[in-house]
Each structure stands twice: as C-alpha cells, then as structure tokens.
C-alpha cells in the first residue's frame, strides 16, 4: 500500500508550496469517519470484556474461585461451572476428532485431486452447509437424528460394557439419544465448512514447483501430499483446526437442543451432558441475582477461552502465510 501513500496528494510534504492548499474539510471528515469505524472493532471487544465481567462480578465474589470451579450445580445457591466446562471440552474434542480428517480430506480432494471444473460444485456444497442455520441443525438433531442414534447407542453400549477402554467411553447405563456424542456429531458437521475452506487456502499456497519436483522423482500423489504439501502447510493447518475448535466451543443453539441438558461429569460419551453456551441459552431467561451473574460469568469464561484460541490460531495462520510468501 506504500505506493498509495506516496501518491496521496492530500498530504503534501511542504505545505508552504504556493500550489498547496488546506486539505478540504470533507476529506478530513471522511478520514476520521473511516478511522472511527476501524476503531469500533477494538471498542466493541473492550466493551464486551468490561460490561460482561461487571455483570458477572457478584458470581466471583460470592462463590470464590473454588466455588466457581466446583462441580456442584444447584441453582440458585451452588453455582459451580466445572461440569459445563467439561461438557464444552468433551463435545469440542469429539467434533474435532470427526471433523478434522473429513475437512482435511476434502481440502486435499479439492486442491490436489479433482480438476477445477469439478471443484466448483463441491465448494458450493460446502457453502450450503455453512449457510444452514445452527437452529435448523438443532431441530433436525433432536427430532430426527437423536431418536435414530438412541438405538445405535444402546446396542453399542450393551456390547462394550465390561471391555476396558471401549466400555469406559461408550458403555454406561444412562444412554440417551441427546448426549455428548450427538452434540459432537452436530458440531462436527457445523465446523467442517470453516476448517475445510481455511485448510484449502493454506494447502493452495504450496509452490507448484515443489509438487512437480516430487512427481518428477516418481512419487505417487499420496507420497507427494505427505512429502511436500503437508510439511509445507503444517502451521496453517494447525491454525485452521484451532479456529474450528473456537467455533465448536462457542456454538450454542444446536448444542443446547441435542446435548441432553444434564450437568454431569462422566466419561460415558453416550450420556447426556451440558456445555457452557447451552446452559446460558437455556437458563438465562429465568435467572436473576447471583444465578444470572453466574451465567454471565460463564459467558465471560467462554469469551476468554475463544479469544485466546482465536488469537493463537490467527497468529499461527498469519505467520505461516508470511513464511510461505517469503519463501
């Protein structure tokens, strides 16, 4: 953009020049307007942090750190958030385990396998997936998917009960169609578009000459991918997975409908659970006093988690993009 700055006649170097005149008022006004709109982003982010933590302060003062991170959830007195944090973590991890291989496969399919002519309709399909509203996934999840999964879950659960590792994760008595796992599946569907499109952008930056070099050495396509594309895009791929994780953690409505709404910490993935955003969505309407402050505080926790993950992810993506541009 440096050329633009140089070519800008509105800021002449020596204003004593006879041809120089004051910069017109409208021009300066426009510059200020643009600056103000840019700064609005920073203002909003700061305001979010300040206003929500202000509303949540009574939760932290009455419960204390040990109360906030306890597992007891008996509103309106005992307001521990740990089971919700656990649920958010578990559902997000399930979502990543399902979505990352699929997204990566699709990104590779689009960039390295199919011709451009075929790639376009595939991209349209991914865009369609991204535009289906969260609440519609939730509606479908609870009324169609969950009843169907219930049967599968119960047969799996009765099959694996007693087997060491499988029983630990997929066994248990309290099997339900609305569960951690169902929430994870819905989340996986919802984060696939963003992880796919970001990975695709990263993978597309692999220099053609490196790829051709690998082919010239007699590699198969898969060997070229593991030898050239993946090492080149590692950093960016980590970043796009992290961004997917951020999305999964903050997703509210679909999860609120299919997670089963039961604040429990259990290793059994087919049991109902709860997550930070979904408890806020379900309970905030009737809450007041410290209870409302607690829900507000969970929003603050969520904000902090997602901001940290997003800052790391964007940093990683940007650094790897800069490196591949410099190379």
């Amino acid at each position: 953009m440096s050329t633009v700055v140089q070519a800008d006649p509105a800021t002449p170097a020596g204003s004593a020049h006879p041809l120089a005149h004051r910069r017109p008022l409208g021009d300066r006004g426009f510059a200020i307007l643009a600056l103000g709109s840019g700064l609005l982003v920073l203002v909003i982010l700061v305001l979010i942090a300040v206003s929500t933590s202000q509303q949540a302060s009574s939760w932290f003062t009455t419960e204390g750190l040990s109360g906030v991170f306890s597992t007891t959830w008996q509103p309106p007195d005992k307001l521990g958030a740990l089971s919700f944090i656990y649920g958010t973590a578990v559902t997000s991890v399930i979502a990543l385990v399902i979505a990352v291989p699929i997204s990566l496969g699709m990104a590779l399919l689009l960039t390295e396998v199919v011709p451009r002519r075929w790639g376009r309709p595939i991209v349209y399909v991914i865009d369609l997936l991204a535009v289906v509203p969260s609440v519609v996934w939730g509606l479908w999840g609870i009324l169609v998917l969950a009843p169907w999964l219930q049967h599968i879950y119960s047969s799996i659960a009765s099959g694996v009960n007693g087997i060491p590792v499988l029983g630990f994760f997929f066994g248990g008595e309290n099997v339900s169609g609305a569960s951690f796992f169902t929430a994870g599946i819905i989340l996986a569907i919802m984060i696939t578009p963003i992880v796919t499109s970001l990975s695709r952008e990263v993978i597309a930056t692999t220099p053609t000459i490196d790829k051709q070099g690998a082919y010239a050495l007699g590699s198969t396509r898969w060997e070229m991918i593991t030898g050239v594309v993946l090492p080149h895009s590692q950093g960016g791929l980590v970043g796009s997975v992290l961004l997917g994780l951020g999305r999964a953690m903050g997703e509210t409505i679909a999860v609120a409908l299919v997670i089963g709404s039961s604040p429990e910490i259990t290793s059994h993935l087919f049991s109902p659970g709860y997550s930070l955003p979904s408890v806020i969505a379900n309970e905030f309407g009737e809450a007041s006093g410290v209870f409302r402050a607690a829900l507000m505080g969970m929003g603050v926790l969520l904000f902090i988690f997602t901001i940290i993950i997003n800052v790391i992810a964007r940093g990683v993506v940007e650094r790897s993009a800069r490196r591949s541009r410099g190379a």
Partner: protein
C-alpha cells in the same frame, strides 16, 4: 534394445505395488470424506422440505403464532417472519456501512501501519466471538437499561456482522489495482473522492456479495436474540420498543416442545428460514458473477 523394436508391447506403467495401492486407497478416502459431508446436508434439506412444505401456505406465513398445543394447520409464523426481516434489516443498515468504512480505513488509510494491522487482526479475532456472548453483551449494555426490543437484537446481530463485513470488504479493496487510484490522484481528486468514486465502485460487486453472505448468516442466528428480543405471538410493528420475535427463536422454542403441532410449525419455520438464507446466498453468487470486476 528389444523394446524399441516393438513399441506396442512396452508397458511403461509401474507394476502394481503397495505404493500405488496406498495412493488409490487415500484418494478414495478423500472422496469418502466428501460423501460423508453430503449425507447430513442432504438429509437435513430433504427432511426440512418434506416436513415443512406441507404446512407452508399463505395463511402460515401471515397468521399469528398460536399456543404450542394447537394442531398443525392452525395459525402460523407471521410475527416471526416480520421480526426476522425487521431485525436483520436494522442490523444490516448499521453493520454494513460501518464495516465498509472500517475496511476502507484498514486498506486505504492505515496501510501497513501498526494500528491498521491491529484492527485487522482484532476483526479476525472478533469473528470468533461466540454469538451467545454477543447476546450477553447487548443484554448488559442495552437491554438492561432500555428493555427488550427488536433493536437490541439488531445491535447483537450487527456486532456479529461487523467483522465479517470488514474482512470481506478489505479482501475486495485489496484487489483494486493501484493504477486506478494513481490515475485519479493525478487528476487532482482528494483521497475521499478517490475512495468513494473510484475504489468503491470498482470493488462494489465483491463488497455487496460479501455483505449478503453476512446477512444470510445473521438471519439464522438464534443465540444473540434469546435475551434481547424474547418472543411474542403477534406482530410487533415497532422494532424500537417492546419484545419481538424471529424465525430462529421460534424454531428453538418449538424444537423443545413435544406437541405435534408445534413441531410441525417448527419445520415450517425452518423451511422458511433456509429458503431466505439460500436465496440470499444465490443472489450473492449472481452479484459476484455479474458485477465483480476483479477476482482473486
């Protein structure tokens, strides 16, 4: 060599080996990934159309929302459709001009400067703020003081749209060649004039299409509306005061109901919402195809 004597018989392909088999397996796994994505998308669209199409009629689109226990065929989603249009339109009117101006700041004024880079980075980060947090934010700074209204919901949706509009507009402004800017500076135009009459028109196709996609996403958001607009059962013509409702909010409350009628109306509302979102997306594609002068 014997080979050159009979070129027809030469088989230059490598004999089948584990390397080639592995390559083929991996290619099929990639295709499988695509199939695994199409299945839920197809299922959800087929289900929504199958369950929603039968209930949708002019009466469904215009009538007031009945009690949950009412059988399918009674009442409709009129207030929710009106609310969604009001709230999304208000959010668009606020977020799109500010977003475009923000992008103008980043690309035309800030350039490589530190502040512009920080704003750009933070806009990226802001796209990752969960929508429910935006709802809580607007609840604490607006709803607590001024009460529930469609405008509160529009503020929350606007906050979600703002960073998306900034980033998509900025990408479009980047594509406008510098020679256009330099040409108009050479004619003596001020920076504001160059931006408004040369740069923006050159990028307008991409900007509009990006904004439409942001609107399509925002129209389907539920979480930021839950505690800023509540729900109502009859049309609230005034988006600035009194509770309002929206299609996503109604789908959310009907999805957790066990009454057949409520669920049927939920599917009808879901179909209406999906149609609105898809239409916006298709229009965005058409705008890109028709008006985008520079593309990446």
């Amino acid at each position: 060599m014997a080979v050159s004597a009979d070129p027809q018989k030469v088989d230059l392909r490598e004999p089948p080996s584990w390397r080639r088999t592995k390559n083929r397996i991996m290619t099929w796994l990639m295709v499988l990934a695509f199939v695994l994505v199409i299945i839920p998308l197809g299922l959800v669209i087929v289900t929504v159309v199958a369950k929603g199409a039968s209930i949708i009629s002019w009466q469904f689109l215009t009538s007031d929302i009945p009690v949950n226990i009412a059988p399918p065929g009674v009442g409709g989603m009129g207030p929710a459709i009106v609310g969604t249009i009001q709230i999304t339109a208000l959010a668009t009117v606020m977020a799109v001009p500010l977003g475009v101006l923000g992008a103008i700041y980043i690309n035309e004024y800030g350039g490589k400067g530190l502040l512009a880079q920080v704003v750009r980075f933070m806009a990226d980060v802001m796209t990752g703020v969960p929508s429910i947090v935006m709802g809580l934010f607007i609840f604490s700074i607006y709803t607590l003081h001024f009460g529930f209204s469609g405008f509160g919901g529009a503020l929350a949706l606007g906050c979600l749209m703002l960073p998306v509009v900034i980033r998509s507009t900025e990408e479009m402004l980047k594509l406008v060649p510098d020679s256009l800017r330099q040409g108009s500076y050479a004619l003596g135009a001020t920076k504001a004039r160059v931006t408004m009459t040369v740069v923006l028109p050159a990028a307008i196709g991409g900007i509009v299409s990006g904004a439409l996609l942001a609107v399509a996403r925002a129209a389907g958001e539920t979480a930021p509306l839950l505690f800023t607009i509540l729900t109502v059962t009859s049309v609230n013509k005034n988006p600035f005061s009194g509770p309002n409702t929206s299609l996503p909010s109604q789908i959310f409350s009907n999805a957790s109901s066990s009454f057949v009628g409520a669920q049927a109306r939920g599917w009808g509302a879901a179909l209406t919402l999906i149609v609105i979102a898809f239409v916006l997306m298709v229009v965005a594609r058409l705008v890109t195809a028709r008006f985008a002068r520079y593309s990446s």
